[in-house]
Symmetry: none
Subunit: 193 residues, 4 copies
DNA sequence: ATCTAAGCGAGACGGTACGTCACGTCTTAGA
DNA sequence: TCTAAGACGTGACGTACCGTCTCGCTTAGAT
């Protein structure tokens, strides 16, 4: 079905340069300032080459997200066996990374790229937050087995609340939130060890 | 030195019509489709009148938010004395209202309007989610006095987590979340009534 | 018919200030740069006051012209009895005054103000050039009586040609024209005295 | 160092359509009514394409003039050997053509386009009236050789006066001028044959 | 060793929205 | 009731990007 390789093959190098340029420009100036013109210029390619591969700016961003090249910093959840300490440490690190203006820009890019398109929104959010969510549920399930979660805690609910808390704080830069240890204690329904 | 009341006073009617038109257009077509031209046309005003009072589309949206005219549906927290039931009912209603495409559009508008400007972001989010947050903290504090919150729960942390959960779900349309009652039970660290 | 002096009388002072401001602004920056805003500001009046007296910018200029306050410099035709010398002296002085950038600006203002409106054009040109034309015809008629005009010269034709020559030279700044004495000799059909 | 022939070449068709549209619109509605929007619409082009090639409306008009596409109707001077008849016929035809409202509009366009810019004025007028002037001087010189010009006539002065007369009459629509034959007789200093 | 077809950088094309400017009208308070 | 001030609706301006369409030039498989 695919035409055999007649003509000049597409340049994988251009494709990568465009993705890299997009990622860098979002990090530098934010999604709102992003233009196809600027992407092509930074990638050393022509504007048409961008459109040959992607139908829109949003889809370039979507591909970055799907590839995991544009996402919140991949903070792994520690596993020392002590759930409360582990989640507190993880939340601390996430919150720290959000002070980086790049991370905020990426966050907004994710939200904005998804606007007006529910299918995109689903894809983008599942790809970008899904791994976090799944990892949290796993770690929490392990904690439940170890009796480290309060009797009334639900793993999905806790994971939702954790990610939601991160999201909320990222979007409300001025707020004075509760300390992370208090957040974790509350969500786990457990006194601090 | 500001000259008092000289010249024709600004038309409060125009101002309101512009704000109303902006609100309606966002609800109908989303923030991305919003144009100053369309706002002025719908408001029966001139484009210049819009620019005379607001420097940008974002600031019109900001004013709507500050005025409380553009926000998530104002769902009051019930107060039957039974915190768990009240919060569950409240969360159910919020989640229900998010199925309304208008509410999703408003949400995205808030996020996008805030992009590139931390001061705006702070203003917008505090104004739009602040009242919810404050009301939740109040209701939770009352619940604490009544012994309806688990021993390890912090009111701010619970409020953050609740709003974050709403935010997270609004932005991940495809997810299969935990039932609201489970969420509340988890956050309160309490068995169901 | 005219309403007796009810209410505040119109300010003749404003009217004059507006005319003066218009004249000055045309001389300083040219007709193209002229705005009602600037006229009112310079006159210390309001924009509405301008429109109360004149329906358009063009008509302010027209009134200036009619009043003789905006026109080519009023160069009187000498009358020493020697027509050729007199006209040559007059033409020299006119051409000299056209080197003044203000005079050029006034000239263009006259032409532009008349555009798109034949009635205005007629008014403006008759008022601004009419006196010159009439004075020329008079002086020429006197010269005819004195036998100072060639046998085939027509006073109207000569006056038209003289004014036309001035107009043509004003509008073609780069040309190298014939000396004024040659022009006059040609138009009069006479050798130089 | 100018890159040769890179990118899509400009559309000569668009360029011509824009020039043609400008010419037609001036002829139809006058220079004052001319807008870039209308030019682009009539040319079937985008507004940006106009601005890509000309910095202002004035320069489009200037190019039309330089190209000889926007000028007074090109009335050739007859050459029957009889100068007086030839010039009278020519002047009659010119004056006739000025009754055409299009010609008047073109005339005003030339004047207005030149405003505020002496260099442009020189270019425009030399281009538009230069050919007439040169042709007149040639024909007159031939007449001088043939003894058809009065002894005191100067070819440049006569040509200036002729064009000036045309200009003057075009701009004073209401005047009652001398008959063309009288004008020519006067300028040539000759009795009618 | 051509020939042919597709991708490439470049950049012009027809559009749409932007934010500014001036227009001519309207609406205040004050003289 | 005219005045200065200034907001109003309107519409042209010149700019920035959009997504599409040619250009001349590779680049590689098919001839």
């Amino acid at each position: 079905m695919a035409e055999a390789g007649r003509g000049r093959p597409r340049s994988e190098q251009s494709r990568r340069a465009i993705l890299a340029a997009t990622r860098d420009l979002i990090a530098e100036s934010g999604y709102e300032q992003l233009t196809v013109q600027a992407i092509a210029a930074r990638a050393g390619s022509g504007r048409q080459t961008v459109y040959r591969w992607w139908a829109s700016k949003e889809l370039i961003v979507a591909e970055l997200v799907v590839n995991g090249e544009l996402t919140l910093p991949p903070v792994p959840i520690p596993d020392t066996g002590h759930l409360q300490h582990d989640l507190t440490a993880w939340l601390d690190e996430i919150m720290l990374s959000l002070n980086d203006p790049q991370a905020g820009a990426l966050m907004l890019a994710l939200v904005t790229a998804a606007s007006d398109n529910e299918a995109d929104a689903r894809l983008l959010y599942e790809m970008s937050t899904g791994p976090y969510h799944a990892a949290l549920v796993d770690r929490l399930a392990q904690g439940v087995s170890a009796g480290q979660v309060g009797p009334h805690g639900d793993t999905t609910a806790i994971a939702d609340a954790l990610i939601g808390t991160v999201l909320f704080r990222a979007l409300t830069p001025g707020a004075r939130p509760a300390p992370t240890s208090v957040v974790i204690r509350t969500l786990l329904g457990r006194s601090e060890s």
